[in-house]
């Protein structure tokens, strides 16, 4: 028992304890620290030596643990709550974007349900597109609503419903993969991320290993096009300022993501959101490519913002 604490001096012991209590509510942490300091002084007053007192106290970790267990759990729950609401909002917006795309795109889920009702080459076709368009818009926004609804549910209901919604979205994507299916991929990802949140009990605090994996996969995914384009610029593409600027930005973003820079995470997420929005508003030939690229950027960025431990606070615990 003595071996755990005897490497500390009393001051180092209190400093270590203070460090461990950083996440606790301020007044409670300070009070505990004062209690232990008083305990040490009282022990000295009785003629004990520091090693003896500290050994009897137990390790700083053991002293801090009960308080931290009590306060880390609600904190963790609040984070889960916030993240699930963010994902719900994301799902809602994605639902609207998808419904816009679906109403304006030919050969889609809409056509499957309503039939390809617009006769070719008739003057009145625009009217019918817009008449049904409004209806379709409503119907496809329901997918967004359906996924978002998970976020406001709790407990078992959220878990079961979340799974059902995610499976529905997956079936939709898989079933329509040759037509409009890919546009539901972001909604599907959001649905599965919500499943992930609901599956987490508030006790599973340690998500470091998974964050690290996502960081590596995401960083690689973000850097890959930059590297390829960089290689191409030396061989075939005529180098110009825009290309170099893109390469520099892409490189900074990818490396920033790998090294968990908050700015890079925000930039990645915003970049993805912009790509998704732009590809909806200005649908061109590369609609699907932009949409998918946007999906990748957006969700890697979002995941990082939601789950990566902020640098600086990381390592405070351990």
């Amino acid at each position: 028992m003595a071996s755990t604490a005897e490497q500390y001096s009393a001051e180092a012991y209190l400093r270590e304890l203070g460090k461990l209590l950083r996440g606790a509510p301020r007044d409670m942490g300070v009070e505990l620290l004062e209690d232990v300091a008083q305990h040490i002084e009282d022990g000295r007053a009785l003629g004990r030596d520091d090693d003896q007192i500290l050994a009897a106290l137990g390790s700083p970790e053991a002293v801090a643990a009960p308080l931290m267990a009590e306060y880390a759990a609600p904190q963790e729950r609040a984070i889960l709550r916030r993240n699930s609401l963010v994902l719900g909002a994301v799902a809602l917006v994605l639902g609207v974007l998808v419904s816009i795309i679906d109403t304006t795109l030919a050969d889609t889920l809409g056509d499957l349900i309503f039939g390809a009702s617009v006769p070719e080459g008739e003057g009145s076709s625009y009217d019918s597109i817009y008449e049904q368009g409004a209806l379709q818009l409503l119907i496809f926004a329901i997918f967004g609503l359906g996924v978002a609804a998970t976020a406001v549910m709790k407990g078992k209901a959220a878990r079961i419903y979340g799974y059902a919604a995610a499976l529905c979205m997956t079936a939709l994507v898989a079933g329509l993969i040759t037509s409009s299916g890919i546009f539901y991929i972001p909604s599907m990802v959001a649905a599965w991320m919500l499943v992930g949140i609901n599956g987490r009990s508030s006790k599973s605090v340690n998500r470091e290993p998974r964050s690290k994996l996502i960081r590596i996969i995401g960083g690689t995914a973000l850097l890959l096009p930059v590297v390829l384009l960089g290689a191409a610029s030396f061989t075939s593409i005529e180098p110009n300022v825009a290309l170099y600027a893109y390469l520099a930005l892409g490189l900074a973003g990818g490396i920033g993501f790998l090294s968990n820079s908050r700015i890079a995470l925000w930039a990645t997420c915003a970049n993805g959101a912009a790509l998704l929005a732009v590809s909806t508003v200005d649908q061109g030939l590369l609609l699907a490519a932009f949409w998918l690229a946007g999906t990748v950027y957006f969700f890697f960025g979002l995941y990082g913002l939601m789950w990566f431990t902020r640098r600086g606070t990381a390592g405070g615990q351990r």
Binding site: M1, M28, E31, L32, D35, V36, Q38, H39, E41, D42, G43, A45, L46, A56, L57, G58, S59, P60, A62, V63, A64, A65, P66, L67, E70
Partner: protein, 116 residues
């Protein structure tokens, strides 16, 4: 073997420490070190430090209160005193403990009988 013993003791202490603190305070107000020494001497706590988070929680739930008083050494010390609610809880615990320990002793006695 002594590892197993320590494990069993730790598990049991975890559940009763709070009431041992209350019972100790029921016989008189104490300051932190005094309380810690008593519980350690009785081998009811392994680490004295973990007593303080427990006391903080007991204060938050209204089982104990604190006040500052000058001790014999002339320094101000934080004393813990049991509340009315705390006394009630000791009473409740006494009932539960007596029932449990009686049954456990009884079972262990039977076990002993089979063994020998």
């Amino acid at each position: 073997m002594s590892d197993q013993r320590e494990k069993i003791a730790t598990n049991i202490r975890k559940g009763v420490l709070e009431y041992c603190v209350l019972a100790s305070l029921a016989s008189g107000d104490k300051y932190g070190l005094e309380l810690a020494e008593e519980l350690t001497a009785r081998k009811l706590t392994a680490g004295e430090g973990s007593l303080y988070p427990l006391l903080a929680r007991m204060k938050a739930t209204g089982l104990v209160e604190t006040y500052w008083e000058e001790g014999a050494s002339g320094r101000k010390r934080k004393y813990y005193t049991i509340t009315e609610h705390g006394h009630l809880m000791v009473g409740e615990f006494r009932g539960v403990w007596e029932a449990i320990s009686m049954q456990v002793t009884d079972l262990l006695g039977e076990q002993h009988g089979i063994d020998s």
